[in-house]
C-alpha cells in the first residue's frame, strides 16, 4: 500500500479552508507556522498542523491543528475569542474532503514574546484525516 503524499494532501485540505472567498472576506490572514509575517496586519493567525496520532489505516493520520491568534495587545482578550469563534464556524464539525475536524479549545497566552505589542491566544482543534 502506498502512503504517498498523505501529509501534503492533509496540508492542502486544511489550507484550502483559508483560501475560500468566505474566509478571505473575514480579512484575517492565516500563515503557515514557518512564515514570517511582514504585512502590517495587527490581527492574524499562524497555523501549525501537528500530525501526531495514528490513523485507521496506513493512509490515515490524526492530530491537532494549532492556530496562534495574534491581536493588538491593548484591545483586550475578547478580540482573540471573537476570531476563535470565527474559526469555529469554519472548522468545528466540518469535513474537508477526507479530513474531519472535531471539537476546539482556545487558551489566552498573554503578550507574544517576539512582539509584546501583540496578544496571543492558542486555538487548537483535533482532526482525523482519512485516506482510502
Amino acid at each position: 500500500m502506498s502512503t504517498d503524499s498523505k501529509f501534503v494532501t492533509l496540508e492542502n485540505q486544511i489550507f484550502s479552508v483559508f483560501a475560500t472567498p468566505e474566509w478571505v472576506a473575514e480579512k484575517i490572514s492565516v500563515h503557515p507556522a514557518s512564515y514570517i509575517n511582514t504585512s502590517k496586519d495587527t490581527s492574524f493567525c499562524r497555523l501549525d498542523i501537528v500530525s501526531s496520532g495514528k490513523g485507521v489505516n496506513l493512509k490515515s493520520v490524526s492530530g491537532m491543528l494549532i492556530i496562534d491568534i495574534f491581536t493588538p495587545f491593548g484591545v483586550g482578550p475578547r478580540a482573540g475569542s471573537v476570531i476563535a469563534d470565527k474559526l469555529d464556524s469554519y472548522l468545528v464539525g466540518k469535513t474537508i474532503v477526507g479530513t474531519q475536524l472535531m471539537g476546539s479549545t482556545c487558551v489566552p497566552k498573554g503578550p507574544d514574546k517576539a512582539n509584546p505589542s501583540l496578544l496571543r491566544s492558542t486555538y487548537t482543534i483535533a482532526f482525523n484525516h482519512f485516506g482510502v
Binding site: 485507521v56 469535513t95 477526507g98 472535531m102
Partner: protein, 194 residues
Amino acid sequence: MAHISSIGAGLFSDLAIAVPSTDLTPAAIAALDTDAEFQALFATEILSAGTKSTDTFIRVQNVREFPSMGTPPNIVNVPVYGSATSQQIQGQSDAPSIEVQLNYVPADWAAGSVLGDMVGDGVQYVFRFALLNSEPVAYDSNSTPASGIGSVANSQYYWVGKVEALQVNPQLTDSNTATVTMSIQSDFFGAFTE
C-alpha cells in the same frame, strides 16, 4: 447527493421518527417498502413541542451513543455426516430492540410533548437512522435534495417499531442521561440515499 463513499466518523448521524397527524394504519405501514415511500414521511421537521401534521417528523436529539443498526445474525451450526467440519446456515434471528443513550433534556420528553407522549403509547411509528459524516443544511427529505438531508453524502435505514421505554439516569457530576428503548417490528429497509 449519494451514499458516503469514504472512511469517516458519523459525527452528524441522526435518528428520526415520522409523526404524521394521523397515526399510520397497519395496512399503510405494511405497504411501505421503497425509498421514496419512506422518504416522503420525513418531509417537514417539527420540535417536540410542535404540532403533528402531514409528513412531519421529529428528531431524537442529543444522542450520546448509537447501538449497532441492523438485524443481528443467528448462525446455526449443522452437523454433516462424513465432513470434518459442520456447516453453517442462517437461522431466524431474534427480534432486536434498540437502546439509544441520550444526553437527557427533560423538556424534549415532557408529558404532552410529541416525544414524551410517544413513550409506551403502543403505536407503531416509522423510524429513520441516517448515517452522516457532514452536517446537512436540514434533516428533511424533499424534492430538492440540496436543501435537505441530501445536501451531504448520506445513507438511510428505515424500520417500523415502537418507543417502549424511557429511563432517566441522573448523574451527579456528568450530564444527565437517558436510555430510550425501541422495539423493532419490521425488517430494516435500506441503505437508501437521496
